[in-house]
Amino acid sequence: MPSIAEINDRIRKGTVRVMTTCELKQAVAERGVERVAEHVDVITTGTFEPMESSGIVLNLGHTDPPIRLHKATLNGVDAYCGIGAVDLYLGAAQAGEDLNYGGGHVIAALVAGKSVQFRATGMVSDCFPRRSFDTQITLNSVNQCYLFNPRNAYQNFIVGVNGGDRPLYTYLGTLQARLGNAIYASPGALSPLINDPQLKSIGIGTRIFLGGGVGYIAWEGTQHFPLQKRMPNETPIGPAATLALIGDLKQMAPRWVRGCRFHNYGPSLMLGVGIPLPVTDPSVVFAASVLDRDVVAPVIDFAIPRRVRPSFGLVTYEQLKSGHITIEGQRIRTAPLASIAFSMQVAQELQNWIRSGRFELTEPVAPLPLERNFLAQDQTILR
């Protein structure tokens, strides 16, 4: 099997063989792992889903007289300024004046080339005498602007239902009363980290597709929980590994970066993430050949607003994608929250990039940890 360097040689020569994860699953079903592994160098995976733990780092550029940002808003959405004088961080889930507009919309507006209202007050000092600053900014009028997302690309997630008697407005959308619907948030067997369940092919420094530009895996994501219980095929039975991602917003494309909001819950960001898996071993093909019928998620009742909510057990993504699941004898319609159509398109786009020589693979700089506990905050005082 080729090394990553040899795969990159093939990319430069234009002889690289790339399959999307959909194509790979079909090929393995027809020809088996060994035969397919001989004929593929890279598997591309993609997802397009709301990722509220996202945000931008932005450097405004210095004003004259200079300002040290104390409080700043972009289109009325608060940014965090406790870093350098004109550095700020704007979170995708930060709401503006109401729950229908927030950081995700501002980030998408910048990517779409729109101008954004910037308003700030300064913390006055002898270095930075300015008290306030108002202007319009665009992506081109600021120095750095990069996405730096603490938690993206969740390896599996939950399915939300509502066993109560009133509708619930959640981060999964509207859950109708009396088990009126079930909403799932992961594209299942298409999801990047489901195709590499033990994180063998990726690591810190892995180059990826992020919002239509080039990004990198920066770190493990927050709430990274690789020790989640797993199926015999090594896929987790619920939320598990996560990634912190970084990438230049100036390269991104509006198609893959969309502001969104959940009714009576708040704003978020829908983002396309694509991860290439180099086939340096047949086991990479075997892991990526996992099907929706072999990946499960827990059905969780949101009517109980506690940290540990009751579960109605596990369902497969094949059941979820069929449009209905059955819980306690009741037939419940399902709806996805991740765009399965766009997830497939992200994998195709990354496939095109690699085939055309625009995107080369990287060796990870360091592995992602496989041992992390999932701590809860119980207000105990440690002595």
């Binding site: 509207t174 109708q176 619907n181 909403i183 009714h263 765009s339 399965i340 766009f342």
Partner: protein, 134 residues
């Protein structure tokens, strides 16, 4: 042709078997999309009428003569293709299956004839791609 109408019944005419008369006298098939009818109260009925164009016009005139308020349903659900990301969240609240995902491509499909314009999909759409087209 097909036409969607909203009928408002004063309490005095709630007893009238309107859909029967439409079928019998005007050869119109009426599909009840929404209904709110109770004895001695103002009733509302949303119908999709299908039949001959002249017969539908005649039926609308006859209903007005009976004191039934007739308004044409001008509004319908519109989906902005440039905004829609085909996430499918709207399919989880659509009561009639007018909004669904195609099984292979997972692209959103909207079957207008099944839509009862209940408008539940509008606030649910996370990218605000769904609106009422007046």
């Amino acid at each position: 042709m097909r036409k969607r109408v909203i009928l408002t019944f004063p309490p005095a005419v709630v007893h009238m078997p309107v859909t029967y008369r439409l079928a019998k006298d005007f050869n119109i098939a009426s599909n009840i999309l929404r209904a709110q009818v109770a004895p001695d109260e103002v009733g509302k009925l949303v119908l999709e009428l299908s039949g001959d164009i002249d017969q539908i016009e005649a039926a609308l005139g006859w209903m007005r003569d009976q004191g039934i308020g007739v308004s044409l349903m001008g509004h319908e659900i519109a989906i902005d293709e440039n905004l829609c990301v085909h996430c499918g969240l709207c399919t989880g609240v659509c009561p009639t299956g007018a909004l669904s995902l195609q099984p292979e491509t997972f692209l959103l499909q909207f079957r207008r004839t099944k839509c009862i314009v209940c408008e539940q999909c509008i606030p649910v759409c996370p990218v605000e791609a769904i609106s009422i087209n007046l």
